[in-house]
């Protein structure tokens, strides 16, 4: 196969490219220039795509003896990922930019370009397993549950999956990947994993958003509407959050309060007791199915609402445009804007963006 290996400069994508070469494929390495704000040197493990990252990717490609290019997707990234991130926060939601990047850039814009330029597949260092099932390509969790990244790949359709290649999915642990990198003489073997948001290199998401969304002071209210405090910008809060609440009025029961809801229209943040976070139902219309859409209007599944959340058994129902999911036991705080990925065992069924939630504890109850 002719494979385009996306190389971030990290150890996972470097080893993935190496395995593709060993498997006998014709491999070309590409580093995506996504963020024009990129610095020159990486500062620890935050952020991504500095010039040093590009160099690390290049040296890995050199080591593997494969051609290497840097492609500029920064404009698309700005429009589809960064601008979306800001507008979601403005609307009081909590977006997941990594999902958007996979959805619009890595497995869309890049994948389409790769196919047009004659490649059979895009290879990445994601930890997930591709299985050829009876009805086409399936996406499954990786062998290493701790590293499993099938969640962030939940947006991929079977057509896209037909052109992807994830060589790391069956590796028992990440430590083995690092060991393999060292054995192969890849200089990135000990490079720390990047976390947080790649386009906010110093990790200060709150400050970054404040510059773009502005800081409009507003009220913090309880579920009855009584004002219990003040905030300096609603974007700094997300459902389930406990820290950062400077509340002037203590709760009647003395227990800590949590963010239940962010209301951008009135610029208010609603807080309440931990029990009130319990969510009985989530729903959304923006969805995709990995393979065929489910034939039954209602079916059992497991649902995962965050990249590192435990999957929860649930009943999913397709009602008109909406996918509605009711977990067997309530979720502990769900932020609209996040993605719900549905699983059948290890297999990814599909996903939807959570647009509305229903509390398990009605107000006053």
């Amino acid at each position: 196969m002719k494979i385009l290996a996306a190389m971030s400069g990290g150890v996972d994508s470097a080893v993935a490219a190496a395995r593709a070469v060993d498997a006998g494929h014709e491999v070309v390495g590409v580093h995506l220039a996504l963020s024009r704000a990129g610095g020159t040197l990486r500062t620890g493990s935050r952020g991504c795509c500095t010039i040093e990252d590009a160099m690390d990717a290049r040296r890995a490609a050199d080591r593997l003896g494969i051609p290497f290019y840097v492609w500029d997707f920064s404009e698309r990234f700005r429009d589809d990922v960064i601008d979306d991130f800001v507008s979601e926060y403005r609307a009081g939601r909590t977006p997941n930019p990594c999902m958007r990047c996979n959805e619009k850039i890595k497995f869309a814009a890049l994948l389409e370009r790769a196919v047009e330029l004659g490649f059979d597949a895009v290879c990445t260092g994601h930890y997930a397993l591709l299985v050829d099932g009876p009805e086409g390509r399936e996406l499954h969790r990786a062998s290493d549950a701790a590293k499993d990244q099938s969640y962030v790949l939940g947006v991929l359709t079977a057509d896209q999956l037909a052109h992807t290649y994830f060589p790391l999915g069956a590796t028992p642990t990440k430590a083995l990947v690092r060991a393999e990198a060292a054995e192969r003489g890849l200089t990135v073997a000990q490079k720390p994993d990047s976390h947080d948001i790649c386009f906010i290199p110093d990790g200060d998401t709150r400050g970054w958003l404040a510059e773009r969304v502005g800081t409009a002071a507003g009220d913090i209210v309880d579920r009855d509407g009584a004002v219990v405090g003040a905030h300096e910008g609603a974007h700094a809060f997300t459902v389930g959050q406990r820290r950062g609440l400077s509340l002037g009025v203590p709760a009647p029961d003395g227990k800590p309060r949590f963010v239940l809801e962010v209301r951008p229209v009135t610029n208010t943040v609603v807080v309440g007791p931990k029990e009130a976070l319990a969510t009985a139902e989530i729903a959304g219309t923006r969805r995709s199915w990995t393979g065929r859409a489910p034939s039954a209007p209602s079916f059992a599944c497991e649902v995962q609402i965050r990249a590192h959340a435990e999957p929860v058994p649930a009943q999913a129902e397709i009602v008109g445009d909406e996918v509605v999911v009711r977990p067997a036991s309530p979720f502990d705080g769900v932020a609209p804007g996040q993605t719900a990925v549905l699983y059948d065992g290890t297999r990814v069924l599909g996903q939807f963006t959570i647009a509305r939630t229903v509390s398990a504890v009605p107000v006053g109850g």
Binding site: R58, V70, D72, A109, R113, E116
Partner: protein, 389 residues
């Protein structure tokens, strides 16, 4: 074997340069040492200096060897600024200059408060003499690239030099792309006179003409006022301290002389190859548009706008077919950048991302041109289909 169309980026080492370098590198001695071994090294160095002076039409003492084009340009631009005549202010900077010039001037602007007067280019990429002259009065210095490294247009060096002399403004000419290809005549362009103004400095680069990377020179008129970048042993009139690279200078001189000897014949040969390329291109891709002056241009340079195709994609597809071309410029990470020169011709951002530069040189052949023409149409069609993703 790669079909190589990026001679403007670098070009193979000339056999004369290799031979001169190997011979000189075994003559061990610091050219500044007083003793015999030092003198022997010095002899080779000064021989090289005379040879370069003869080729560029200046005095040997006016030849300052450097590590290449970037250093030469920095030395000239910054050096002239720092030594400027009291009461003069501002730097006259045409659009579309090389990054070495632009970035040095930008640094002087931000770090030293230098004013900058831009001179827009003509649509052909030439520096318009009238507009250039109009920008000169009161300026501390002016700088001009006489053969544009991207679109290949050759500007009127004698006229620009005359304008600078008339306004008594020191002028630096970037001849990095011009030396060895067009007739560079420092003293003739400068004219007679002892003023520290008019044409006072001229930069050349070694690896562009078949000398090793890390060699080059800047001609600095004996009448110029110029401050050095490097301080130290005071070599080369104090203008460029540091132990002199004798072997590098020997190689550079040999390359420059060889280039000059064959200049006219090579220009004719390259013009023939260019014609072959252009004719084939026009026939196969009628939408392709040639940029730069059609006649007053570097003989081996063909610069093309490919509507609807990203230069980055074309470069990739051609590279996969083992044909090496350039989009003009790349950043340090390796991202193909939109050409500021194409923007300077008055084109939009989209066009600036849809160009390729083909530059031929001493080792270019008709076979290579034919190979390029064989793969270009398919690459173009594919790049257009891939869209502007």
């Amino acid at each position: 074997m790669t079909a190589y169309f990026d001679h403007a980026a670098t070009t193979p080492l000339r056999p004369e340069a290799r031979a001169a370098w190997l011979e000189a590198v075994d003559v061990v001695g610091n050219a500044s040492s007083v003793h015999g071994p030092g003198q022997r090294a010095r002899r080779l160095l000064e021989q090289a200096r005379e040879e370069v002076a003869a080729t560029l039409d200046c005095d040997p003492v006016e030849v300052v060897f450097t590590s290449g084009g970037t250093e030469s340009i920095n030395l000239a631009v910054k050096g002239l600024w720092w030594a400027r005549r009291a009461g003069s202010d501002g730097i006259v900077l045409p659009d579309g200059e090389h990054h070495a010039t632009m970035d040095a001037v930008e640094w002087l602007r931000t770090a030293e408060g230098a004013g900058v007067t831009a001179v827009p280019l003509a649509e052909t990429g030439a520096i318009p003499v009238h507009a250039f002259a109009a920008a000169l009065p009161g300026a501390a210095l002016a700088t001009a690239m006489i053969a544009n490294n991207e679109v290949g247009t050759v500007s009127d060096a004698p006229a620009l030099a005359a304008a600078a002399a008339a306004e008594a403004v020191p002028l630096h000419i970037d001849a990095v792309g011009a030396a060895g290809t067009i007739d560079v005549r420092f003293a003739t362009w400068r004219g007679a006179g002892r003023a520290a103004a008019g044409l006072v400095a001229l930069s050349v680069s070694g690896h562009k003409i078949g000398a090793p990377v890390g060699t080059g020179a800047v001609v600095v008129s004996r009448h110029a006022a110029l401050s050095p970048l490097l301080h130290g042993g005071g070599q080369q009139r104090g203008l460029r301290s540091g132990t002199q690279d004798v072997a590098g200078a020997a190689a550079f001189a040999a390359a420059l002389s060889a280039a000059e000897r064959g200049r006219e014949a090579e220009a004719a040969r390259l013009t023939g190859l260019r014609r072959r390329l252009v004719d084939g291109l026009r026939a196969a891709i009628p939408q392709a548009e040639l940029l730069g002056d059609p006649d007053r241009r570097l003989p081996g340079n063909v610069h093309v706008h490919f509507p609807g195709a990203a230069g980055e994609t074309l470069l990739f597809l051609l590279d996969q077919a083992d044909v090496a071309v350039s989009t003009g410029s790349a950043c340090q990470a390796g991202v193909a950048e939109p050409s500021h020169v194409v923007r300077a011709l008055g084109r939009d951002e989209r066009a600036a991302r849809s160009v390729l530069r083909f530059t031929m040189g001493r080792t270019s052949t008709a076979d290579e041109v034919d190979r390029l023409l064989a793969v270009l149409p398919g690459a173009y069609a594919r790049a257009v289909a891939a869209g502007s993703r």
